[in-house]
């Protein structure tokens, strides 16, 4: 599903987002992307859906060479990828229903199907009573679930989640992880960027660890001793 070859991402002013990262993720995998704040997790995700272009190296996502994709083909790629943004990126002037439906609207689904799928997705996430609310009138956990609903409503082959449990209390975080696990169980390839040790401890998935832009560890689940080692990253 994803191949990265010697990818380097250099921001203006000689800041490195990523340095020489090579990684391969197969269809149907569930991967944690972890490392301290500023390690390059968000940068890696943004490269995958074409929000950034790598300074060096090649990136292949679902058979497309993203590093060489024309700006006209990027929308097509993004329709295959559900993205949960760290800051949600909800449309503040639209209702919850519209925020979730936009994914299907862009995909060109018939109105009736759009309505049915959006409704059922929002109900599944416990937002059935919030359809006509604006995002800013919702709690953080509810906004997070709207963002998840938007990313998943189209059943994307690939889900990228950037700190999806970021500022939520532990119970809510588990709810969110259940929803993501559910999507994974139905065949979606999942990458979750997180620096929450609680999550890593709880779910025995493959971990890709970044530090200062470099890939420092890539561990398969079967390589974990039981119990999984506790990794605590400084939070800044």
């Amino acid at each position: 599903m994803i191949q990265m070859y010697h990818v380097e991402m250099r921001y203006p002013g000689e800041t490195y987002g990523l340095r020489d990262v090579s990684v391969s993720i197969k269809r149907g995998e569930f991967v944690f992307l972890t490392g301290p704040s500023g390690a390059g997790k968000t940068t890696l995700l943004r490269l995958l859906f074409g929000a950034e272009h790598p300074s060096m190296g090649q990136i292949v996502v679902a058979g497309r060479n993203v590093s060489r994709l024309s700006s006209a083909s990027i929308p097509e790629l993004r329709r295959q990828i559900g993205v949960i943004f760290q800051d949600f990126k909800l449309l503040s002037e639209r209702t919850v229903f519209e925020n979730v439906g936009i994914t299907l609207e862009i995909a060109g689904l018939p109105r009736r199907e759009l309505r049915a799928r959006t409704w059922s997705m929002l109900r599944r996430l416990g937002l059935g009573h919030r359809l006509d609310h604006r995002p800013r009138t919702l709690s953080g956990g509810e906004q997070q679930r709207v963002a998840i609903a938007r990313a998943l409503v189209n059943d994307p082959p690939l889900l990228l989640a950037d700190e999806p449990t970021g500022n939520l209390d532990p119970d809510l975080a588990l709810d969110i992880m259940d929803i993501i696990a559910d999507a994974h169980a139905r065949g979606t390839t999942v990458i979750v960027a997180t620096h929450d040790p609680g999550l890593l401890e709880r779910y025995p998935h493959r971990r890709i660890v970044l530090d200062n832009g470099r890939l420092v560890m890539d561990r398969r689940p079967d390589a974990f001793p039981t119990p999984a080692p506790q990794v605590v990253w400084p939070v800044s």
Binding site: F49, G50, A51, E52, H53, S71, A72, I74, P75, E76, L77, R78, R79, I81, V83, F85, K89, L90, L91, S92, E93, I102, T103, E105, I106, A107, G108, L109, P110, R111, R150
Partner: protein
Amino acid sequence: MDRHRLRRLMSALRSGIRGIRATPLIFALSVSSMAAGLLLLGTYLLVVQNMRAVIERFGHELRVVAFLKPSVRPEPASLDALRVRFEALDGVSRVRFVSKGQALENLRADLGREASILEGLERNPLPASFEIELASESRSPGAVGALAARIAESEEIDEVRYGEDWVQGYARILRAVVWLGAGLGAFLMLLLGTIVAGTVRLALYARTDEIQIQRLVGAGGLFVRLPFYLEGALQGAVAAAVALAVLYGLFQLGLPIVGDLLAFMLGRSAPAFFGAGEIALLFVMGVGLGLGGAVLSLLRLEEAP
């Protein structure tokens, strides 16, 4: 166009209307500035149209009158030969012979009650003539002049008249009006285009976040742009409607005030408002401007990732 595209188009249109509702002030602002510009343009077109009408009418009445030499005997055979020769000339639509007797009758009719002054005449002083009507494409001053010169070459013809001073003078005015119109029109179009581009860009800034998010969740260029195109076109159409309404109001209000002056300038007929064709033209210009402005201000949108 397949069904998916059509649906995407429809939802983009919905999104455009939502966009207008989200920023009604920007919409109102651009509509009123465009309407002001279109009003100027419309006023100008109205003036030109009415001046054209005068020229048309004048042209319609324009004819060349060729007077026969008194020495030419009005025999049917030679008159026919002359008429055939004139009819064969380029730009001539009809030739009519007016005999000395008819000319006197016409004059008598024109004089009406004053006709008694003709009573004392011993002999008809009026020459016989040919009245030559022109085909519509030859009603330009240059063509009339050339035709008159050809006719004057005939040895049977004494003198040719066609109101040359009037024709040349009016033609000069018309040319000036047309050039002025072209210049003013181009300037106004530029001004209006800039206004629209500016206001579309305002709307664009007001919705930057929205556009960015649409892009991130996979919206293509058309999905993002179409709402703005629609908004621009709608702005233009509404502005044209407003401009036409105001222009019509001014026309109705101002007519009694300047009516006499206009009647003098325009001749017998009253000034006329636009017909369906001109109204459609103004709408097309409005919509074209709105669209053009939107296209202009969206040109740079593509690069952002």
